[in-house]
Symmetry: C2
Subunit: 133 residues, 2 copies
């Protein structure tokens, strides 16, 4: 059953705070990295490129854990455990541009690599913890 | 084989940056939280209290993944995959006081709860990634 995200947790994710993404490697150990994120309803939207490690991890095992701390007060953070329910190239270029607007204030994602295929990943939360409020 | 931590990665951990800790729950999914951290040689020292979730996870499965971003430039971060090689109450109270000094600038950890038993956790890194430098 999908969990909902409260108002203050939503604010933390809507602000340009970085999202720590943990996924499961094939040996069951944790891969962690930092990404941009935004939110659509109760779903978290992430973006990556084909061939990267962590999207390959969730293609194999959709379980994912996200933590987003308020950069102005890192004692307050949201931790979300959920599943990647969609991985798509559709709209992924527009989505990385929207994230570039959010995080960098520019209209077009400036770090696009030649031949890179962007993907958008949709996370459905199963369990949401909001601490430090 | 233990991995070593480079000079700049060490600086990021020595600064009062928060450490995102990912551990494995009994069902194999990821538990993530934020903690204080410091470094002793190539080992990362964490602190918690008996009865908390994530120390129970590493008592069962010692694999742990840490990410520490530079709060002044979160595009630069260190991700460490390793193992908890020691969990001890010995020196744990002094250690949480030292972390309170580092993160809060006070001599004594001010959030101690009645009856709480502090534990110190020692992480040996197996794999260190330093990105965004």
């Amino acid at each position: 059953m999908a969990a909902s995200i409260g108002d203050r947790a939503r604010e933390i994710i809507e602000a340009p705070n970085f999202c720590h993404v943990s996924t499961l490697r094939s040996d069951g150990s944790v891969h962690a990295t930092l990404v941009w994120a935004d939110i659509d309803g109760d779903r978290i939207l992430l973006n990556s490129a084909q061939g990267r490690d962590w999207p390959a991890n969730v293609a194999r095992d959709p379980r994912i854990t996200l933590t987003v701390a308020d950069s102005e007060n890192p004692y307050e953070f949201v931790s979300i455990r959920g599943r990647v329910v969609e991985i798509t190239t559709e709209g992924a270029d527009e989505h990385i541009d929207a994230l570039a607007k959010k995080y960098l204030g520019v209209d077009t994602y400036p770090m696009r690599a030649e031949g890179e295929v962007r993907i958008k990943l949709v996370v459905e939360p199963d369990h949401v913890v909001h601490r430090g409020a």
